[in-house]
């Protein structure tokens, strides 16, 4: 798990898991399709990522598929961190 994934995982655990819920969140754990992050709360996850990494994720790229696991989210972060060609 890379650093970006670890940061996002820690946020997901703190923000979405109730006290006493000790399930493991891996790079491929389905967050939205698995019911951990509901579609309303996805907005706060997007906001966290944008603020943390000083990026803007266009709404068209902020799909539930793109936010469904740590691996796809970190790929999204890396994509928008790169300078434009």
């Amino acid at each position: 798990m890379d650093e970006v994934q670890r940061v996002i995982r820690d946020y997901v655990v703190k923000e979405y898991l109730e006290e006493g819920d000790d399930r493991e969140i891996t790079e491929t754990t389905p967050l939205i399709s698995g019911g951990i992050v509901d579609s309303f709360s996805m907005v706060s996850l997007k906001r966290f990522i944008e603020r943390k990494y000083d990026i803007q994720i266009p709404d068209a790229d902020a799909s539930t598929a793109a936010f469904d696991n740590l691996a796809s989210i970190s790929a999204l972060v890396e994509r928008f961190r790169k300078p434009r060609a």
Partner: protein
């Protein structure tokens, strides 16, 4: 062809999948008015049998009350069967405004607007009062109708952990840049039966300049000393900006709902809420019945007092018998079973013992949180509850769930 064999087969496979997963719901047919004792046909075609109803929202036992029925009859005679109109065209009678005024008085607000149901009120209210400059911050366990209504609104959405005031405060701080903030919660959470911490929410809302909306559908009529709702119970009468609630549960049980609250917000609903603009007005017979219900509740608190006693007694019986129930004060008492098939099997066996309850499972509740949601009524007498616990204990012993923890039940039956 629009509905080809292939399309039909696709849906048939999906329905078969639900049956195999134990997620298929089956209706029972009731051959009686709603009451504590009813006659039920189940499975379809079987002769109706007498059972005790422990799963109705008939909290005050008014669904078949003779005075309510008589008032409804009188309403039919005085004001007819249907209006054939939405409200704003030619669907508003004098009795609609009278009911709105009585509800305003009862709930302690500034104005009230009727809707065909609280589901419709929740579908329309957010879109009517908020824009994309605003934010809705809801409890994570709000009713499905609120979730649907929030989806229809262009305001930003966010959620806070269930009843977690610290988390709500973080969200209010985070969204202080928005034009308006609206905190949204149920008054009594319909699946767990726990009550909102409304006094704490109001305090936070005042501190962070936010509005508050409460769906009090499982509270209006019986929560609070005089049954006004969770705002009365929590000592914040007059401080809730919008209350949505139903006439389809304690308040007669027929249909109808409303938004009640600050005058301007209610007027915005009257001007813009789509279910109000595009759905038929509440039928006169319903309005007449509801007016009588409010009169009965204002006359005496004996029904809500009896309901409170019944709820405390039933909770004690289930706890002493060793069932895993959700703690709380409301007349919603979930018996936790976790496994969907187990919930269905227990409900079926209870029916054979003369107790009518229904298993709740995904998508009505979260996966692995299946339960039997028992609900008390002022129509229940002590003998109903004593008979009920006898049946629950017998069935509980059969499935060996008495005195067992969640882990033990899950180990045996799976999730």
């Amino acid at each position: 062809m629009a509905y080809s064999a292939a399309v039909r087969e696709s849906y048939q496979r999906e329905l078969t999948g639900m049956r195999e997963a134990g997620l298929f719901k089956e209706e029972r047919y009731i051959h009686a008015p709603q009451a504590a004792d009813i006659e039920v046909e189940f499975p379809a075609g079987a002769p109706p049998r007498p059972v005790i109803n422990l799963c109705a929202n008939n909290y005050l036992g008014l669904s078949s009350h003779p005075e309510v029925v008589a008032a409804a009859h009188a309403g039919l005679d005085r004001r007819g069967y249907g209006m054939s109109s939405v409200r704003f065209i030619c669907g508003t009678q004098d009795i609609h405004r009278e009911l709105e005024a009585r509800l305003t008085e009862f709930l302690g607000t500034e104005d009230t607007l009727l809707f065909p149901s609280c589901m419709d009120a929740n579908a329309g209210v957010f879109e009517a009062v908020l824009t994309d400059q605003d934010v809705m911050i809801s409890d994570r366990l709000v009713h499905a109708s609120i979730v649907d209504g929030m989806r229809l609104c262009k305001a930003m959405t966010d959620t806070f952990k269930h009843s977690d005031m610290g988390h709500l405060e973080e969200k209010l701080q985070e969204h202080k840049d928005k034009r308006f903030r609206l905190v949204i919660t149920d008054g009594v959470f319909s699946m767990d039966g726990d009550l909102v911490k409304l006094d704490e929410i109001v305090a936070l809302a005042e501190q962070y300049d936010a509005m508050v909306l409460v769906d009090d559908s499982h509270a209006t009529g019986f929560i609070g000393k005089t049954g006004r709702g969770t705002h009365e119970h929590c000592g914040v009468l007059g401080k809730i900006d919008m209350i949505t609630t139903t006439l389809g549960k304690a308040m007669g049980g027929a249909s109808g709902g409303c938004v009640s609250g600050r005058r301007e917000l209610v007027e915005m609903c009257r001007q813009r809420a789509r279910p109000y603009l595009f759905s038929n007005t509440v039928a006169p017979v319903i309005v007449a019945g509801a007016l009588k219900v409010i009169e009965l509740l204002t006359r005496s608190t004996e029904r809500r007092d009896k309901l409170e006693w019944n709820a405390q007694y039933w909770r004690r019986l289930l706890t002493e018998a060793g069932f895993d129930i959700k703690r709380g004060e409301s007349p919603i008492v979930p018996v936790m079973l976790y496994n969907a098939k187990l919930a269905q099997d227990v409900a079926r066996d209870l029916f054979a013992e003369g107790i009518y309850v229904v298993g709740f499972f995904f998508p009505v509740v979260a996966k692995a949180q299946a339960r039997i949601r028992t609900q008390l009524s002022a129509a229940h007498e002590k003998h109903h509850l004593d008979r009920g616990i006898e049946a629950f204990v017998k069935v509980g012993r059969k499935y060996d769930i008495l005195g067992k923890t969640k882990q033990e039940i899950v180990e045996r039956y799976g999730l």
